[in-house]
């Protein structure tokens, strides 16, 4: 195969699978080798946008970008290299950038990137183009979220009239890969309220007491933006059950701080809604689930057949396909999580790409690719569901998990969970 053919093949493959960043990276590198710098930089930038640019390439790509006059892009590469602790070449790149910026008459960059003073990341609504329509199935869950989160913002008058206060906490829990994070993002898109994301990596700090301070700051920022939704994903990482903590380290103090913040919200009624999510509810500190904190606990189950069909449709849209029996595939995949289904589709697409690389014709993703992908696929939720069954059977005094119990007690569920 000549170099040109290879580039063409790669281009086609990337077009077929725009989210395959590894492949795009190969394309970018091949373009660079072929001397097509401008095109290469465009691809590199998209890889960088996706957060998939390897750190050891950051300096080289940044330097090329700087020479091509794309200073903004070069500065981002420099930031990436610095944040990743890359030492070699960053100083040189910085000097180059400073010179070029001075030449271009722009202001000189301050020392290092502008520090991000915000703890909670504000997720703009435009950025979250995603809505409930992008979440397959889960109608009950959507209804519950609509009632407890979306409606209070859209019709505050209604809630006032009925003496129901807007605000408080809602906790989503369920097996991994079944759409909790996706639902939260869709909720942001649905309600049009400001949506802030507070993650453990934004809070955690090795200095004594600083993590708690940062957590408090995050809540302060949310309060200032109220009415708004504050999203705490993987809340178990913030509020790990005390019983598992060996010593009174960061973790314990953080749980206490989180409890304080939640209680303050309950007392002030200031229109701040906290949305939490976790796939290990049994590892979340019990105190978090007491009344007034997260009163609403919503189970996000694995998708049913209807939902699986929707998920597959979503995953396959904008892909060239031919003759895939989505209905049959949905029937064949009980207990597959959304992520499992997406993985099947990805693998099928990869197989189609492999074929496209060696063939002159366009190769749409077809049933045989899917069948091949299904051979090694399996439902990852079963293990979680077994653990959930153990937990709900022996730790459901408050009845908080009645919903899951009922779900697990269904006849076909019991059959599936048999070992």
């Amino acid at each position: 195969m000549t170099g040109d053919d290879r580039l063409e093949g790669l281009r086609a493959a990337v077009e077929l699978s725009p989210d395959n960043h590894a492949l795009r990276l190969v394309l970018a590198e091949s373009l660079r080798e072929a001397g097509e710098t401008a095109a290469a930089l465009t691809e590199f930038e998209r890889v960088l946008d996706a957060g998939a640019l390897p750190r050891d390439e950051a300096v080289e790509v940044g330097t090329a970008a700087a020479h091509a006059g794309r200073l903004q892009f070069a500065a981002r590469c420099l930031d990436l290299a610095r944040n990743a602790g890359v030492v070699g070449g960053t100083a040189g790149l910085e000097d180059l950038l400073t010179t070029l910026l001075a030449d271009s008459g722009a202001v000189q960059r301050a020392d290092g990137p502008e520090p991000d003073t915000h703890v909670a990341r504000r997720v703009s609504v435009a950025e979250e183009a995603c809505t409930f329509a992008d979440v397959g199935g889960l109608d009950d869950v959507k209804r519950a979220i609509h009632r407890t989160i979306v409606l209070p913002y859209q019709r505050p008058d209604l809630f006032e009239q009925y003496g129901r206060r807007a605000g408080g906490g809602v906790l989503l829990f369920g097996p991994p890969g079944c759409g909790k994070t996706l639902l939260a993002r869709a909720t942001a898109g649905e309600c049009g309220a400001p949506f802030l994301n507070l993650r453990i990596e934004d809070v955690l700090d090795p200095y004594f007491g600083v993590s708690e301070q940062r957590l408090h700051l995050g809540f302060d920022e949310a309060r200032a933006a109220a009415p708004c939704v504050l999203f705490l994903d993987e809340i178990d990482t913030l509020a790990f059950a005390r019983r598992h903590q060996r010593s009174a380290g960061v973790g314990r103090a953080m749980v206490d701080q989180l409890l304080q913040e939640l209680d303050a919200i309950g007392a002030n009624n200031d229109g701040l809604l906290v949305l939490g999510a976790t796939n290990v509810p049994w590892d979340v500190d019990d105190a978090l689930q007491r009344p007034g904190r997260f009163d609403r606990v919503i189970f996000v189950p694995p998708p049913d057949a209807e939902a699986r069909r929707r998920i597959l449709d979503i995953a396959l849209r904008e892909r060239p396909t031919a003759g895939i029996d989505v209905d049959a595939l949905a029937e064949r995949t009980p207990m597959f999580s959304g992520a499992d289904l997406c993985a099947v589709v990805e693998r099928a697409v990869d197989a189609a790409i492999d074929e496209a690389l060696t063939s002159a014709d366009e190769v749409p993703v077809s049933q045989r690719h899917v069948d091949a992908a299904m051979r090694t696929a399996r439902a990852t939720t079963l293990e979680w569901l077994r653990t959930a069954r153990n937990y709900t059977e022996f730790a459901n005094e408050s009845g908080r998990y009645d919903e899951v119990r009922a779900y697990l007690d269904q006849r076909e569920m019991r059959k599936l969970l048999r070992r």
Binding site: R55, D56, A84, G85, V86, V87, I200, E201, L204, D205, P206, E234, D236, T237, F240, R243, H244, Q245, G249, V250, G251, V280, W282, D283, R386, T387, A388, R389, N390, Y391, E393, F394, A395, R418, R419
Partner: protein
């Protein structure tokens, strides 16, 4: 914040998979540090990849051959792989640098217990207890040793000590549940094992035992309880002796009646046993 602190935190909150993912994102300089290798080793160990953990520990030891924490990790990972000799070698070289370290001694005792060398394990644990009387890890080893020796009373007493310090020790509750089960005290077994499941629901075997303890309390299962309580062999011997005795005494009818009843009880017990199995599946 450095990513390594995040990795450490993720390991601490039981998310080794996420810790691994975070480690993968480290630059090559940071990924090769001893701390990073150490954390990666634990992440591998906690995701069931003991081979990879051994590899990480060895890589770290190449740069720091005397690092006690790495030697400890290596020992745990080797034991997890089932290579007790390598596990022992690693812990012994760690002990060469810190002979009184209670954690190292406890790990050594665990290896000896797995190898069936209970007496030697006892001596090692005595040293450990002398150097760190309050160590929960050493106490847990002691409990296991007592139980392995068949000294149920001592195991029970020590477990109560453990639970007095840490009322939410799943292992402690599980141990008391197992002891109650041996004693035929089903309600106590159910309560203790249930508590262990509540605290650590991921262990299916514990949950199954707790379920069995619950189900066996139903009236229908009395023959199973009966056999469990007195042991199958002794009850059989007793029953046969009784039948033979009755016949020798000339009480043919009584012997016949008893024999028939005995057969029914046995059949019932068998049916109940297989039904229990079915219910647990």
């Amino acid at each position: 914040m450095s990513s390594l602190e995040l990795v450490e935190h993720l390991l601490g909150v039981g998310r080794p998979q996420d810790a691994l993912r975070e480690l993968e994102r480290l630059g090559p300089d940071e990924a090769g540090t001893i701390v990073a290798l150490y954390l990666r080793g634990y992440a591998h160990l906690n995701t069931g990849q003991a081979d990879a953990a051994v590899h990480d520990a060895q890589a770290g030891l190449q740069a720091a051959p005397d690092d006690i924490a790495l030697l400890y990790l290596l020992s745990v990972a080797q034991a997890e792989r089932g290579d007790l000799a390598a596990a022992e070698a690693a812990i012994l070289s760690a002990l060469g640098h810190a002979a009184d370290d209670a954690d190292l001694l406890a790990q050594y005792a665990r290896i000896l217990m797995r190898a069936g060398e209970l007496e030697k394990a006892g001596r090692v644990l005595a040293t450990a207890r002398a150097s760190a009387p309050g160590s929960q890890d050493v106490l847990r080893c002691h409990i296991d040793l007592a139980y392995l020796r068949g000294d149920t009373a001592e195991a029970e007493g020590l477990t109560h000590l453990l639970l007095a310090e840490d009322a939410e020790s799943a292992r402690g509750h599980q141990m008391l549940g197992a002891i109650a089960l041996e004693r035929g005290d089903l309600p106590a077994a159910e309560q203790r094992l249930g508590e262990a499941v509540r605290l650590e629901p991921v262990h299916d075997e514990v949950a199954d035992t707790a379920r069995a303890a619950r189900i066996l309390q139903r009236p229908y299962y009395w023959p199973v309880r009966f056999f469990n309580r007195f042991g199958a062999a002794p009850t059989w011997v007793a029953a046969i002796c009784l039948i033979v005795g009755l016949r020798a005494a000339g009480l043919e009818l009584a012997a016949g009646l008893f024999g028939t009843t005995w057969l029914i009880v046995c059949a019932w017990s068998w049916a109940a046993g297989s039904r229990l199995e079915h219910q647990l599946r």
